[in-house]
Amino acid sequence: MGSINKKILIVEDEALMLRSLSDKFREEKFTVLEANDGANGLDSALANHPDIILLDIIMPKMDGLTVLEKLRQDEWGKEVPVIILTNLSDSDKVAEAMKNRAYDFLVKADWKLEDIVRKVREKLAKD
């Protein structure tokens, strides 16, 4: 499948969302790293160098935009593909994230789990 042993980092503060995404990607044979806030997410990303990152925007400790900004300052982090997870209400923040070269954004409520998996696979296949 090409995705075997691909490492994905999911940064999301909503426990159920994080759990569902993680379980889904594990089912799809990804190696899944989890972080429940921005600061943990950044640490994990810089330590583990995942192949792709799913990043929530509104989170405690450090928000997704700051995580993305800090990632882009890192030698490894400036190229890592990042997909923004969003709610409808934060469109201006999404625009800001896209400026920081986020690969794409997904509105959480609209996208089915398998669609998210497909999107991630698409991106990884391109690289």
């Binding site: 909503e14 759990r19 569902s20 405690p60 209400s89 934060d90 789990l113 398998e114």
Partner: protein
């Protein structure tokens, strides 16, 4: 004897007649002279009166000093002979020398008069007046080179307005010894009268101006008024503050243009407003980190005063004052600071979007979880299944308590928070609350305890559920912001009327932050004082008020590492106020805080 007698008698009679006659003549001459002098005096008085009346009529309530002097000079020929009458008057930007010639004189004559006046005005003002500052106006008879007569008679009258020398008035003649003291006195009197009148008038105007300035100064809106040439007439402290012009001594429209940084075309708007006689409002202009609503309006000489005036002093055309036909004096620009309103709107929007986030986030989680549970192989894994159910349940609880909090806030705002006072055992209530939070405190390694003043009655009248709400919010707040190894203490006492709460705390030997505060609550009625003191991060002084503001709290909660809506404290405030009490916090940053509330009993 008879003859002699007759002769002698005739002689005597003649001498007597002679004496009498000359006495009579002398008397007549004397009287005539007296009459003549009296007549002259009357003439002078009459002149004085005439000229003063004329001055009054022609000058009216004028403050225009050059104009007044022109009137005086113009009427002088009625009573005094001169070759020339001249004035040297200080105007704001120049000094004007005006000379009116009654007969032809040489250029040198004029130059001499002018020089003498320059010297005497210089002496009055105690400074040298440069020649080039003087503007010359010559009128009347011609300048002719063939008349070489110099100035032979001359006198100066100083013109003093208030305490300030405003100019010099001069009479000059080519003939010598012409002017007597009476002439000078009259002129001196006239000038003095005129200057006194002007001084008084100026004082009235100044008093009015002071009133106006004081009024304009105290207005928090920035106000700047210009005349038709955009010269600044009035600029109040608020507008100078707003545009950073406070240290500018002389202000011109260009200072305003510069400091508005191209955000607002003040000159263009004034021009439009004056030309079309229209009020121009401008919403939300951002200048120097603040938002301003700016209104530009024309200024008319007379504001409308008749009965038809709408109460807003704007007439039906939307003009200030009546005068469509009247000449517009200038324009006024009013800067209204809407930064706070804008902030409030922003806060409200943040609040709404945060609420939406707080509800949508767990709902999306539930949606994703149930989706995964439907499609995945979760049923094959009972442990995982159980975990999902637990998470869904927690999410539902979270949303429910948020919705409840929002409803409470809505009730408080509507003023409909019901308080059912009954007898409450505060000690028992506190113990129950501590029992409820014990597990969380133990998990966080925080020492949670209670101290209650022995003098506190066994029961007080209050709403037990509402009191529990306050204690809950205080405790959970304290636990959130206190690190492991710290302490959270619930405190309760009976605050006595007229007592200083800081002294009361000292007697009880309580460790808290109320003794660090300025408030004594001395004028407060007897009350149940509930407090929760923690050894947490503390609250900066600037942020204390806003902790109890639902909008603000929600905003900072998003940024902090502690998740939560932050509605608890604003609800606690509503509950305390519904009891007629007060709520607050005292704190030392880095050491901890005491959240307190007084419930009058």
């Amino acid at each position: 004897m008879n003859y002699f007698d007759n002769q002698t008698a005739i002689l005597l009679a003649a001498v007597a007649a002679l004496i009498l006659g000359s006495l009579y003549c002398w008397q007549i001459f004397y009287l005539r002279d007296k009459f003549k002098r009296r007549e002259e005096e009357i003439k002078r008085h009459l002149y004085e009166l005439t000229i003063l009346k004329e001055l009054g009529d022609r000058v009216g309530y004028s403050l225009n000093i050059p104009n007044i002097i022109d009137v005086i000079c113009g009427s002088l020929n009625q009573f005094i002979k001169f070759s020339a009458v001249a004035s040297l008057v200080v105007e704001p930007d120049k000094i004007v020398f005006k000379i009116n010639l009654a007969e032809p004189v040489a250029k040198e004559f004029v130059a001499e008069v002018r020089e003498r006046m320059r010297q005497s005005l210089g002496a009055l003002l105690n400074k040298t007046i440069p020649q080039r500052q003087i503007k010359e106006v010559i009128s009347g008879a011609v300048l002719a080179e063939e008349f070489k007569e110099p100035v032979r008679s001359f006198f100066n009258i100083p013109l003093v307005i208030g305490d300030q020398a405003a100019g010099v008035l001069t009479i000059a003649h080519t003939q010598a010894g012409l002017y007597r003291e009476e002439d000078m006195t009259i002129l001196y009197k006239i000038v003095q009268q005129a200057s006194r009148a002007v001084t008084r008038l100026q004082e009235v105007v100044r008093a009015e101006q002071r009133k106006l300035n004081a009024m304009v100064s105290s207005i928090t809106e920035g106000i700047v008024m210009t005349d038709r040439d955009y010269k600044i007439v009035v600029a109040n402290p608020a507008v100078l503050q707003a545009l950073g012009l406070t240290n500018q001594p002389e202000l011109s429209i260009f200072d305003f243009i510069d400091n508005l940084e191209g955000k607002f075309d003040i000159r263009g708007k004034l021009e439009q407003s004056i030309r079309f006689d229209k009020i121009i409002p401008e919403r939300e202009v951002m200048i120097r980190d603040k938002f301003w609503q700016i209104i530009v309006a024309p200024v008319h000489p007379h504001a409308q005063t008749d009965a038809e005036t709408p109460p807003s002093f704007l007439n039906s055309n939307g003009n200030l004052g009546v005068g469509v036909n009247e000449e517009v004096l200038g324009g006024v620009v009013i800067f209204h600071d809407v930064t706070e309103e804008k902030k409030l709107t922003q806060m409200r929007e943040d609040f709404t979007s945060m609420m939406v986030h707080e509800l949508r986030s767990p709902l999306t989680g539930i949606k994703k979880a149930t989706e995964f549970m439907q499609t995945g192989n979760i049923s094959a894994n009972p442990q995982s299944y159980g975990e999902y159910v637990k998470l869904i349940n927690a999410s539902a609880n979270e949303m429910l308590s948020l919705v409840n909090d929002l409803l409470e806030v809505a009730k408080i705002e509507a003023g409909g928070l019901a308080v059912k006072r009954e007898e409450v055992d505060v000690r028992q209530l506190i113990n129950e609350r501590i029992k409820f939070y014990r597990v969380i405190a133990q998990d966080a390694n925080i020492n949670l305890q209670a101290v209650v003043d022995d003098k506190l009655p066994s029961v007080v009248k209050a709403d037990p559920q509402r009191l529990a709400q306050i204690i809950n919010n205080f405790i959970s707040n304290g636990l959130k912001f206190t690190a492991a190894g710290g302490k959270v203490t619930v405190q309760a006492m009976l605050h006595q009327r007229r007592q200083d709460v800081r002294a009361e705390g000292k007697i009880l030997n309580w460790e808290w932050f109320l003794n660090k505060g300025k408030q004594s609550f001395k004028n407060f009625p007897a009350a149940l004082l509930l407090a929760v003191t923690d050894t947490g991060i503390g609250v900066a002084e600037a942020g204390r008020e806003q902790l109890f503001n639902k909008f603000k709290q929600i905003h900072s909660a998003a940024k902090s590492e502690i998740k939560g809506t932050g509605l608890g404290l604003s609800i606690a405030k509503g509950v305390a106020e519904a009891h007629g009490g007060v709520i607050g916090v005292e704190s030392t940053e880095g050491e901890g805080s005491t959240f307190y509330c007084f419930i009058p009993i």
